[in-house]
């Protein structure tokens, strides 16, 4: 249905996917990644006593080189650009990063 034809049209918010898209764009800019690089965002539960209950995991899959993984110890919807930058730089105590081969 076209928004130009329907006066009652409104675009609904996309919630979790919209925030994940923002987070991916922050990663893409910070790491200067091209559009072909796959960035995936996951929100996982962690019930270990010393960990926060939710962890956001970012996986960067590049054609050349190993997959890169960054963690933010917050639920996805609680993350902001600063969290992403700290996770990428590995400077945050609330974030960790690493490389892995899949």
């Amino acid at each position: 249905m076209s928004k130009f034809l329907n006066p009652f049209y409104y675009e609904r918010p996309a919630g979790v996917p919209a925030h994940a898209a923002k987070l991916k764009s922050w990663v893409r800019v910070a790491l200067r990644l091209d559009k072909k690089t796959v960035i995936s965002v996951n929100d996982l539960a962690c019930n270990q006593p010393h960990c926060p209950p939710r962890v956001t995991v970012i996986l960067v899959l590049q054609k050349d080189g190993p997959a890169r993984k960054f963690e933010i110890h917050k639920a996805l919807l609680d993350t902001n650009e600063q969290d992403v930058l700290l996770a990428i730089s590995g400077q945050s105590t609330a974030a960790s990063s690493g490389e892995t081969r899949n």
């Binding site: 049209y9 979790v16 996982l44 539960a45 962690c46 019930n47 270990q48 209950p53 995991v57 899949n102």
Partner: protein, 346 residues
């Protein structure tokens, strides 16, 4: 695989599919979050259809669990214990993360860890993923629950439900942004062909969003969470809780009505889903079926008879950050009350 968030109409759609003569040779695996099965009793099973119920969320258990269920089905058929089938429909829980289930059923996914896994890989092929999406409650599900996004992103076809209760305007565009290759169908559309949902090809991730590729890649990493311990088997976190409650004796109809209304009264209580069957004192042979999705209690239905030999009242409640103890206490305090007719007749 039939998936979709809590209360989005998976079982209703499944029942409609099974009503078709073309689906006669179908076996069903129903997975329910929580320790009791209510949906299993509400699926209309034909004499030539076989249902295997598994409680405990498939996505939270080892990835080979779906293979275990399929292997069990395969062996039962081989030994002639169940009717022949051409296809299997796996109905996931409403909270299921499809990633480990898909990963265990596609070529190149989770490696086989047993002879049974090899048998399953030869005998079964994931054909397609169908997701139901409730246009009435879907906005909050998609806003707050990662699993809802994943279910939609993995889908080949999304079936919009409850379009008779709320407008689906705008959702097609939103869903295609999430999953550009998906086919969006309206369950209430005059031209909705349920049979078209069933395909015989092979599920492919090649046209799925990059998120799907990433989630599958993450699934295949040895350590999905990098801080030196494996990701917990409960993907939904401790804030999502399922509680199952039983009563052996028939209950006072007014007390059940009060219980359902109290549980669903507050929109911010954290209730995600309630489903139950109740034996009522006025006619215990005709169970009352109740469904609530978030705080919306759907009109209750009185069945003509119990669908299984289990005639206990039972209710399953799933909530997020929901205080379960007061609910349990309230349910257990419900008393059986002799009906007026019985009292008069005594």
């Amino acid at each position: 695989m039939l998936t979709g968030f809590l209360g989005s109409g998976k079982t209703t759609l499944l029942n409609e599919l099974l009503a078709s003569p073309r689906m006669r040779d179908t076996a069903i695996i129903v997975n329910e979050f929580g320790s009791i099965s209510v949906d299993h009793d509400l699926i209309r099973k034909g004499s030539e259809q076989y249902i295997l119920t598994s409680t405990g969320c498939l996505c939270c258990t080892a990835s080979s669990d779906i293979r275990t269920s399929l292997y069990e089905m395969h062996e039962d058929r081989r030994q002639g214990e169940i009717p022949a089938y051409k296809r299997v429909i796996i109905e996931t829980t409403g909270l299921a993360d499809p990633t480990p289930i898909v990963n265990s059923l596609i070529p190149g996914g989770a490696p086989a860890s047993s002879m049974g896994d090899h048998v399953v890989a030869r005998a079964f092929r994931l054909a397609n993923v169908i997701a139901t999406f409730d246009v009435e409650n879907g906005e909050s599900a998609l806003a707050e629950h990662f699993e809802c996004w994943k279910q939609l992103a993995f889908a080949d076809k999304i079936v919009l439900t409850k379009t008779d209760l709320a407008s689906g305007a705008g959702w097609r565009e939103t869903l295609r942004r999430i999953n550009p290759s998906v086919t969006v169908l309206d369950r209430n559309s005059a031209d909705f062909d349920r049979a078209s949902l069933i395909e015989t090809g092979a599920y492919s991730v090649s046209e799925k969003p990059e998120d799907v590729l990433g989630w599958l890649a993450m699934e295949q990493l040895e350590d999905p969470v990098a801080h030196n311990h494996a990701h917990d088997v409960n993907r939904h976190g401790e804030d999502i809780v399922a509680m199952s409650l039983y009563h052996d004796a028939p209950l006072d109809p007014h007390a059940v009505d009060m219980f359902l209304n109290v549980i669903t009264a507050q929109s911010n209580s954290g209730l995600l889903r309630l489903k139950g069957m109740f034996a009522l004192a006025d006619d215990p042979s005709r169970p009352l079926v109740a469904h609530a999705i978030q705080h919306r209690l759907h009109p209750t239905v009185r069945l003509d008879y119990w669908p299984s030999i289990d005639v206990r009242s039972r209710v399953m409640i799933i909530g997020a950050k929901m205080p379960m103890d007061p609910i349990r206490d309230l349910f257990l305090s419900l008393k059986s009350k002799p009906s007026g007719r019985r009292t008069l007749g005594a």
